[in-house]
């Protein structure tokens, strides 16, 4: 779905808002931001110091326990601990420090310009693609590569091709190896390969970045899969330590992938077309795009910490540089603004959001209207048609896609 408030027949989610409303909303959000900045201080600093201390203690403790991982209980405890430590490092600590949320402390060790995280992607590459591109161009199709990471169809208006059928499988694989997926994505590997096929050589800058990423991956892999298992060989726990590291990295991959899917993919979260974004987007308009393009996860305090407070994705996207421990505090105020301006505050428990996100991935892997117009009775006929669409020439495909779309619209209409 797209929003294009200036289009003549616009009926999108902000149709009821005037320009003045949007700017007023922006001012009210600015006030919330200022309130947090004015009260930022010792309590917040104590929070991040504590999280870092807990993470390091947990990692050290788990690694120590894994030295005896030949004993199954030690293996289980160490693996769980290491998984949690890696998740904390990536989410509540790394992601948020690299956002500059803690730069105000002027602590040269906890600063966006120096922080490095336990992930295949270099902090430098990630900061560019995440902070700069994703947070600025949030959910703009074609501009924000986080939307489907450039490998998926995430919007009805993106053209369906037969290869779209593979996207649930692609998404699953990406989930399992997510840290490498991010590293490749930060390097815009897909674009560079496409260009290379056209005979264009990647820039020197890119080659440097690629070199750094390869070095980082090597360091990371050596630590997890060679150094620590070797140390554990003292107690013959090498293989089990290796396995524990594999599981911990895998768990972290699946977890972070799921959390991030929940942030922008669930059904009902808006995406935007570049042509619809005004040349000089105002602060208010930018805010609205962030508000409609993000979804929250409801849950316990522990869940919020484990998601790096990306469970407050809406608050995070409106104020990416505020300390993460404050998102929960301002959430009621932000939500009140959603209500006041008649906008949909998208929040649900994690299983529901993950399922919804996957539903969207599967739905869009199929032609528009296919899923809506398919039921148990007509399923075989629909599949045959789909195969025709895959195999047929461009004209046939175009015709069939139109039929699917029409059928989908009709069945949705019936349901309403």
């Amino acid at each position: 779905m797209t929003i294009a408030p200036d289009a003549p027949a616009y009926t999108g989610p902000i149709a009821h808002l005037t320009r003045d409303d949007i700017e007023q909303l922006g001012r009210e959000l600015d006030a919330i931001r200022q309130e947090v900045i004015d009260t930022r201080g010792e309590r917040d600093a104590a929070y991040i110091h504590k999280v870092i201390k807990v993470q390091r203690s947990l990692e050290l403790g788990s690694r120590a326990v894994l030295l005896a991982s030949i004993f199954p209980p030690a293996f289980v405890v160490g693996t769980v601990g290491l998984s949690i430590a890696k998740i904390l490092d990536n989410m509540e600590i790394g992601h948020n420090i690299m956002h500059g949320q803690w730069d105000w402390m002027r602590d040269p060790k906890i600063h966006s310009t120096v922080w490095e995280w336990d992930n295949a992607s270099t902090s430098e590459g990630w900061k560019h693609s995440h902070n700069e591109l994703h947070h600025t161009y949030t959910n703009i199709v074609g501009k924000d590569n986080d939307l489907g990471w450039g490998i998926m169809r995430v919007d009805e208006e993106q053209r369906w091709t037969p290869s779209s059928l593979f996207q649930p499988a692609m998404n699953f694989i990406n989930m399992c190896i997510f840290e490498y997926g991010i590293a490749a994505y930060d390097l815009e590997l897909g674009r560079v390969i496409r260009q290379k096929k056209k005979g264009r050589r990647p820039s020197a800058e890119w080659q440097m970045a690629a070199k750094r990423t390869v070095a980082k991956i090597r360091r990371q892999a050596f630590k997890d899969y060679v150094a620590h298992p070797l140390v554990s060989m003292v107690t013959l726990s090498g293989p089990t330590t290796l396995l524990a590291n594999v599981i911990a990295n895998f768990t972290r991959n699946v977890w972070t992938h799921s959390v991030i899917m929940c942030g922008h993919f669930p059904e009902g979260v808006e995406t935007f077309e570049l042509k619809d974004i005004p040349e000089n987007e105002t602060r208010g308009e930018w805010y609205v795009r962030q508000m409609l393009g993000s979804a929250n996860i409801s849950g316990s305090k522990f869940l919020h910490v484990m998601t790096g407070n990306l469970s407050h994705q809406i608050e995070h996207h409106i104020f990416p540089d505020l300390p993460s421990n404050r998102y929960a505090e301002i959430a009621p105020k932000v939500r009140a603004l959603f209500d006041k301006y008649g906008l949909n505050y998208h929040t649900a428990p994690m299983p529901q959001q993950v399922a919804s996100a996957w539903h969207k991935v599967v739905r869009l892997s199929l032609p528009n209207g296919f899923l809506e117009s398919t039921n148990v009775r007509n399923a075989p006929k629909q599949v045959v048609k789909l195969v025709k669409a895959v195999r047929g020439d461009t004209r046939t495909r175009r015709r069939l896609l139109k039929e699917f779309e029409a059928a989908g619209a009709a069945s949705v209409g019936k349901a309403v």
Binding site: D30, Q34, I37, R40, G41, E42, R43, D44, A45, A46, K53, R56, S57, L60, M98, H99, G100, D103, W104, M105, R106, D107, P108, K109, H111, S112, T113, E116, W117, D118, K127, H128, N131, E132, H135, T136, K216, R219, Q220, F222, K223, A227, H228, V231, W286, P320, D321
Partner: protein, 389 residues
């Protein structure tokens, strides 16, 4: 005043210097450290070691507060156990102390008020100045056990290595007494029996303060005077009026024969300096309250190799780019932190909410204050550590 900035050296398992160790041990410790780095990546081994002992050899220089003793109503002496790599100091030198106040790291320079001590502790005496958030924090809120950040002692406000043949004059005003007390304590150690006068020296101390109760260390000065170690001249400006060079020459007739040291506020120091310069005599001065950064609307931004005019209503990023400076940039709206550069000196205003960020040399960390150039406008003369081309 010049500040020496000593960057921390590369990590070493053992303190460098002192005992020369065999080459194989040197090689081994370097290898061991290399392995530790591979195991600790992406963090550094130091990050883990600091959890257990932040004062260990090889760590960034820090100190642990041992004792906080009130001196006057608004001054306190803080005794600190410095990290293992503390190089020691000469009496009269100062140390830069980094402390987190309300979550934000601030650096200030304070005179060391003892010579090198047997117990290895260092001490500073801090007067809470009005609106001084750091000094107030140190005097009223700092508790034993707290870790503070340190740099090595620095400063050339020290006595000559050979004291023979010199007569001394020390003019101290307000908390300017602190480096002088460090010198005197070293010259005249005090035991339970009183002042141990181990050197026959001719020292005159002129102490200027609003009143006696306002004077830090006045009892120490008085007991040194009673013991005959120094000649003490006090001038309480609250009742006796301000001091100038005429009153000073009256109080100290042999002024011209004395090697002079002065520490206090800028006004007094400038006054003395002018007279000493005209008289062709040397004067050692020390001043801690540095001239404040003058803030304005707009200003200039000095990059390495080029200075750019920057208006008060536009981001430094834009002004610098238009002037041909290659700047790092990102979202251009203050959210991505891709444009952050260190400001060594000056003031900038956040264009979103008007908030001022100030970097005073000597009061900020050695690496300066990082600022987001895309939402910061110049609010004075700024110096940014970034090459212009």
């Amino acid at each position: 005043m010049e500040y020496m900035v000593e960057m921390s050296t590369s990590p070493a398992l053992f303190a460098p210097g002192e005992v020369r160790r065999p080459a194989w041990r040197e090689r081994f410790s370097r290898k061991a450290w290399g392995v530790a780095e591979k195991i600790a990546t992406p963090l550094a081994p130091a990050d883990y070691l600091d959890m257990f002992n932040p004062l260990r050899p090889g760590a960034d220089l820090r100190g642990r507060v041992v004792k906080v003793t009130p001196e006057t109503a608004d001054a306190a002496t803080i005794e600190i156990k410095p990290g293992a790599d503390w190089d020691g100091h000469a009496p009269g030198q100062y140390v830069r102390v980094g402390v987190d106040v309300n979550g934000v790291r601030h650096w200030r320079a304070y005179s060391l008020t003892h010579g090198p001590r047997k117990d290895g502790l260092i001490s500073i005496t801090v007067k809470a100045v009005p609106d001084g958030k750091v000094s107030s924090h140190l005097v009223r809120r700092l508790r034993p056990g707290k870790i503070v950040h340190l740099e090595q002692a620095a400063g050339d406000f020290v006595l000559p290595s050979d004291l023979r043949g010199h007569k001394f004059l020390m003019v101290t005003a307000g908390s300017g007494v602190t480096p002088v007390i460090g010198m005197l304590r070293n010259l005249f150690p005090v035991t339970d029996e009183g002042v141990v006068e181990h050197q026959r020296l001719d020292v005159t101390v002129v102490h200027v303060a609003p009143s006696r109760p306002d004077s830090i260390f006045i009892r120490n000065l008085e007991s040194l005077a009673e013991a005959g170690a120094i000649r003490l001249v006090t001038r309480y400006t609250g009742t006796e009026g301000r001091i100038d060079i005429d009153t000073l020459t009256e109080l100290v007739p042999d002024l011209r024969e004395r090697k002079a040291y002065a520490c206090g506020p800028a006004g007094l120091l400038d006054h003395l300096q002018t007279w000493y310069d005209e008289a062709g005599l040397p004067l050692q001065t020390e001043q801690f309250r540095l001239a404040t950064v003058v803030t304005s609307e707009g200003g200039t931004v000095a990059f390495t190799g080029k200075t750019v005019e920057a208006p008060g209503d536009r981001p430094i990023l834009d002004a610098a780019e238009e002037a041909g400076v290659l700047m790092p940039s990102g979202c251009r709206m203050g959210i991505c932190f891709g444009c952050v550069l260190p400001m060594k000196e000056g003031a900038v205003r956040d264009l979103r909410n008007g908030e001022l960020t100030v970097a005073r040399p000597g009061e900020t960390g050695p690496e300066g204050v990082p600022i987001q150039t895309c939402i910061s406008a110049a609010a004075g003369e700024c110096v940014i550590d970034h090459p212009a081309s």
